[in-house]
């Protein structure tokens, strides 16, 4: 049995942030994080806590992502909400932030799933060994994965800023 309080204190915030960035929705991220911690409680032993938690959370997200109908509905709602925000929010900073967030989201969606997960994990401070363990990669390939992910993300963001569709954009959020 693990010290659940400690696990929660140490990893809940970064895990929820990772999931929020990954999913684009805090409530959904909280749900997945809760499920992850539930599974951790049931687990007899965990060798590397952080990479285990991130791996389980990532797998839960992938399972969720396979549910196409839900994904499509969610995207529709997000799109509607983005339209509504553009229409009613008169505050420039709010619009600017929303636009930046929307561009960032679209740029992130243009990445392959593994690249996206590796990048988001790295931004949460996971080291190469932890990322390799969570994503079932070799440690040596993490650098290449991150290099590719960063380059594509920045290129996609720039092309979106310039008003073009990002090259190689998948157009879906959680495509595998």
């Amino acid at each position: 049995m693990h010290d659940v309080d400690r696990l929660f204190r140490e990893y809940h915030q970064p895990l929820v942030r990772y999931l929020t960035r990954r999913l684009g929705d805090r409530d959904w991220a909280e749900e997945v994080a809760q499920e992850t911690f539930l599974r951790a409680v049931k687990q007899e032993s965990i060798v590397s806590e952080r990479s285990w938690l991130f791996a389980v959370a990532t797998n839960l997200v992938r399972d969720e992502a396979r549910k196409d109908i839900r994904r499509r509905r969610r995207l529709e709602i997000l799109r509607e909400q983005a339209r509504a925000e553009e229409a009613v929010d008169p505050e420039p900073l709010g619009i600017e932030r929303a636009q930046e967030a929307a561009l960032a989201r679209r740029a992130l969606d243009a990445l392959g799933e593994r690249d996206r997960e590796a990048l988001l994990m790295r931004e949460e401070g996971l080291d190469y060994t932890e990322i390799a363990s969570a994503l079932d990669l070799s440690v040596k390939s993490v650098g290449t994965t991150l290099a590719r992910a960063r380059r594509r993300l920045v290129e996609a963001y720039e092309s979106l800023q310039a008003g073009d569709a990002p090259s190689g954009a998948r157009g879906t959020h959680a495509a595998s």
Binding site: R17, R26, I77, K140, G143, A147, V154
Partner: protein, 353 residues
């Protein structure tokens, strides 16, 4: 040693290589111009990607459909409603509503007449007076707290006015710009709270994030918020009146002692319109003087009245003086997480198209 591949460079910059390998990579990068350029490129990508990812934190909650469609179906099936039954129910409701409105109409008229009648002050509706007063107090307190660093910086600048040490001068300038930024950011929030008090309590990421970013600046020293990264929102700026600022134009970095560079060697401070919203962006400028792509995540603003420009990214800011023709003196703003106030950024204006 062979040329470095991109993965190795990123692993090195991320501190993921063993010591001996890291040493070899560092040595090679120092000796090989081609690989040094790749390293600089990788640094830019790492910083750019971090900024973009941090922009993702501004997300709404409660946008998943969860069981909403299912619940809607359950209600229809539970009530066994058909379009015909629904139409009948709607008709009944409409008639009932018309009756209620018709009966209440005269009363409404009486109330509207009675309202302007003079009443003793004690009977005045208290909430209408108390409600706007409530947000005013914290706003005033915020102004005071936010302006404190500006006043401190000003008095510090006055105290060291006769000092000739360039390092001290640079520090003082940095402090002043820092304070200006803090003050501006706080004023923006105050304007927010005055105009839209409901937004302060609306929840969501925007509220807490903005508060923490401002809190990070009220002491005059930017502190990292979550994950050691300052958020972009409190320093994003556009001119108050939406007009193009004089500081827009093209610049060339003459000297930058920092290891990592926020701006490209040649850059343009530009204004773009994204979906009708003007934004201040930083562009790269090609060696032949052509404005090129927008640098992801960077924004700029003119530090009001100081003849300075403040360039902001997600995790650091740099400031420099707008050089007059032929001039090039400028100062560098210390990055928040890695303070280095003695570093200088010197730029000069260049022609570009």
């Amino acid at each position: 040693m062979q040329h470095l591949d991109e993965g190795t460079i990123h692993a090195w910059l991320d501190g993921a290589l063993p010591a001996n390998e890291a040493e070899a990579v560092e040595r090679h990068a120092r000796e090989c111009a081609e690989c040094a350029a790749l390293v600089a490129d990788a640094r830019g990508l790492i910083a750019g990607a971090a900024r973009i990812v941090s922009a993702l934190d501004a997300v709404p909650g409660g946008v998943i459909p969860s069981n909403r469609p299912a619940a809607r179906r359950a209600v229809w099936s539970t009530l066994r409603l058909t379009p015909l039954r629904a139409a009948l129910a709607a008709s009944v409701m409409l008639v009932a509503a018309s009756v209620v409105v018709a009966r209440r109409a005269p009363r409404v008229e009486m109330q509207t007449v009675a309202a302007p009648a003079p009443e003793p002050a004690a009977n005045a509706p208290a909430p209408s007076i108390a409600a706007p007063a409530a947000p005013a107090a914290p706003a005033a307190a915020a102004v005071d707290v936010a302006r404190r660093p500006a006043r401190l910086a000003e008095s510090a600048a006055r105290r060291i006015d006769s000092t000739t040490s360039p390092a001290t001068e640079a520090k003082a300038s940095a402090a002043t710009v820092n304070a200006i930024s803090a003050s501006n950011a706080a004023e923006r929030v105050i304007a927010d709270s005055a105009l839209r008090p409901q937004m302060q309590t609306a929840g969501g990421v925007a509220g807490p994030a903005r508060t923490s970013a401002i809190a990070a600046r009220t002491d005059g020293v930017p502190r990292p918020t979550s994950g050691g990264v300052l958020r972009l929102e409190s320093v994003v700026a556009t001119s108050a009146d939406g007009r193009a600022l004089e500081s827009s134009g093209c610049y060339q970095v003459i000297e930058d002692s920092a290891e990592t560079h926020l701006v490209p060697v040649r850059f343009a401070l530009d204004r773009v319109n994204t979906a009708g919203v003007p934004r201040n962006v930083v562009r790269t400028v090609t060696p032949d003087g052509r404005r090129d792509s927008v640098v992801a995540g960077l924004s700029w603003q003119a530090a009001a009245g100081a003849g300075r420009v403040l360039i902001a990214g997600a995790d650091r800011r740099e400031a420099f003086a707008i050089p007059r023709s032929g001039g090039s003196v400028a100062e560098r703003f210390a990055p928040s997480a890695r303070p280095a106030p003695e570093r200088l950024l010197r730029v000069s204006r260049i022609e570009c198209r």
